[in-house]
Symmetry: C2
Subunit: 345 residues, 2 copies
């Protein structure tokens, strides 16, 4: 397994089976199969139900799994977007299976997206309370690890469709292809149809997120944006720019946001962040200077915190000088990783 464990949104729950995306007959058969699972998104929020089990006071959300009958009318609207997510992962076929039994395809999953209200679907749940959470940044963090992995994929692709329905090369309309993973320009003369381009494929935005360690090894640099809850500090982060390595992006963003210069950079782990479609690439970075001068457009305050201060922030009941983001964030996991590391790295 990969060194410091798995991050929320990072689990690959389904087998994407990308070779099937261009297999129209197969896709069509799976669309109507009895065991096919549809996830419904309205304005990029997945339909969920609240379960009675509560974890730490917060209701736990589960994705509503619909069948073809339930979504059929919606699929007929031209503005609805359908994305093939993959099939359930199965164990290798058991040796007890008869040799003449054809291997059955495991259940397929699709995401159905609409930009309209879809409140009429909320009634169909019987006993369970269904809703479309409207503050996705908070509510999407209460799914199971398995479901969070599916949402990471589905919401990123749907967010791309919602903002990229026109051809960026000629301004014309586009057609959805490849099971929802491609949008091709309808204008046969368009240069986007010739040569190597990326305009027709979903976007993934790499972001570096770094825990910057003081040269003494005993403190780390955390910052806060104005919009953060009072007392919360997190890792610095920024978009990787064109023509830049991850390591240089870590150095540039750290210097821009805090004035601190970074030397060695070490990759730790990464996290898909589907709001709308980032890939957070988590690193430890060793500072070579210590004076702080924040970029006030982005960061309200940045400070060096000691190991003890950071440890206390992770413990229930301890006196806290700061709070860190919740466990579902890679920032939290990077901080924990550092705390667990030998102090003399």
């Amino acid at each position: 397994t990969d060194a410091p464990g798995e991050n929320y949104f990072g689990r690959e729950t389904l087998d994407r089976l990308s070779a099937r995306r261009t297999d129209q007959a197969w896709l069509e058969a799976r669309r109507t199969a009895a065991d096919t699972v549809y996830l419904l998104f309205s304005k990029l929020s997945p339909m969920v139900s609240t379960s009675c089990r509560r974890q730490g006071g917060q209701p736990e959300l589960r994705l509503c799994r619909l069948g073809h009958d339930a979504v059929k009318p919606l699929l007929q609207k031209p503005s609805t977007v359908l994305v093939f997510l993959g099939v359930e992962r199965t164990d290798p076929p058991s040796p007890s299976r008869q040799a003449d039994e054809a291997p059955r395809d495991p259940p397929a999953w699709f995401a159905v997206g609409t930009e309209e209200d879809a409140d009429e679907f909320l009634a169909g749940g019987g006993e369970e309370k269904r809703l479309f959470p409207r503050s996705s940044h908070r509510d999407l963090l209460t799914l199971s690890e398995d479901e969070a992995g599916v949402v990471a994929q589905a919401r990123s692709v749907l967010a791309w469709h919602s903002r990229y329905s026109f051809c960026s090369t000629c301004g014309g309309g586009t057609r959805l292809e490849d099971g929802g993973y491609k949008r091709s320009c309808l204008n046969a003369e368009c240069p986007s149809l010739r040569g190597v381009h990326n305009t027709c494929y979903p976007r993934v935005d790499p972001v570096v997120i770094m825990l910057v360690i003081h040269p003494d090894g005993q403190q780390c640099l955390l910052g806060r944006k104005k919009m953060f809850p009072a007392g919360m500090f997190s890792c610095l982060a920024g978009f990787v720019e064109p023509g830049e390595t991850l390591e240089e992006a870590v150095r540039r963003e750290t210097q821009e946001e805090s004035g601190v210069k970074v030397g060695r950079v070490q990759y730790v782990s990464c996290q898909p962040w589907p709001m709308p479609s980032s890939l957070m690439i988590g690193c430890l970075a060793i500072a070579v200077t210590t004076d702080i001068r924040v970029d006030e457009n982005e960061i309200e305050e940045a400070r060096w915190f000691s190991r003890q201060q950071v440890m206390d922030s992770l413990l229930d009941g301890a006196q806290r000088v700061l709070t860190v983001p919740p466990r579902q964030t890679i920032a939290h996991q990077l901080i924990k990783h550092w705390i667990g590391m030998n102090a003399n790295l």
Copy 2:
């Protein structure tokens, strides 16, 4: 320094000084300054000159550095794109500087892009032979490390402008902003102007490229595409998909292209690849199965090669069963990295 050294296109030659991108007065002053350097790109090819020094028979190319006077007429055309690349990196100011001497800004660099022929500029070089190389994948690999770093940035951003001049959300026109790093929709009603979106920023496409190691530690998996020169094999590679970690992308692409299943994945180094705007993320991956079944749409052949076979391919004069890509590619560097590693990893 970062573990296995620097890759071609990866050097950060200039200081991007991104805070200046929104400082119109400063940018305007730098545009006309006497020491400002302009790089000219026609149809995404940089204007270069061939030097007389030849390395290994291949002419070495250098970027032509133009002044403001030379590019002034071109800058006045509305279709010309201007991108602020940054300023030259300087040593800290020397203590001998007088206290009342204002610190001078180091020379600024800009990229000027046109989609038209710009052959009239080729004459201005006096003795030196100027050209716009038309096979960028080959010719851009003969620059110096410093200049390759600048081209990685400039060409990626210009390629984005050439394919993203319309708003993908509404199909309308856009306006260039932030020194060439943003294109905002001109339609005040456009949803791309509200909320968190990426439509107005340049794209960086993360790609995983992996050297897959046999479970015995003594062989590696290399593949060839139909378009490769005869005998050439390289690392498998593929685009990271939305909602996926780097490690899962390595596993998925390896299985898709070769049928081999991968367990542990270890990040090694990365390389910007500005054709048009990829970030190649290089990994070692440990196979847990060995049977090969290639995806014939993408890969013509994939094979396990022994350490000795790979070493021979890197040596001049040795008998070769394969050739590997040139030293400027991260595939070459990953292969070399593995050869230099302890066999019992």
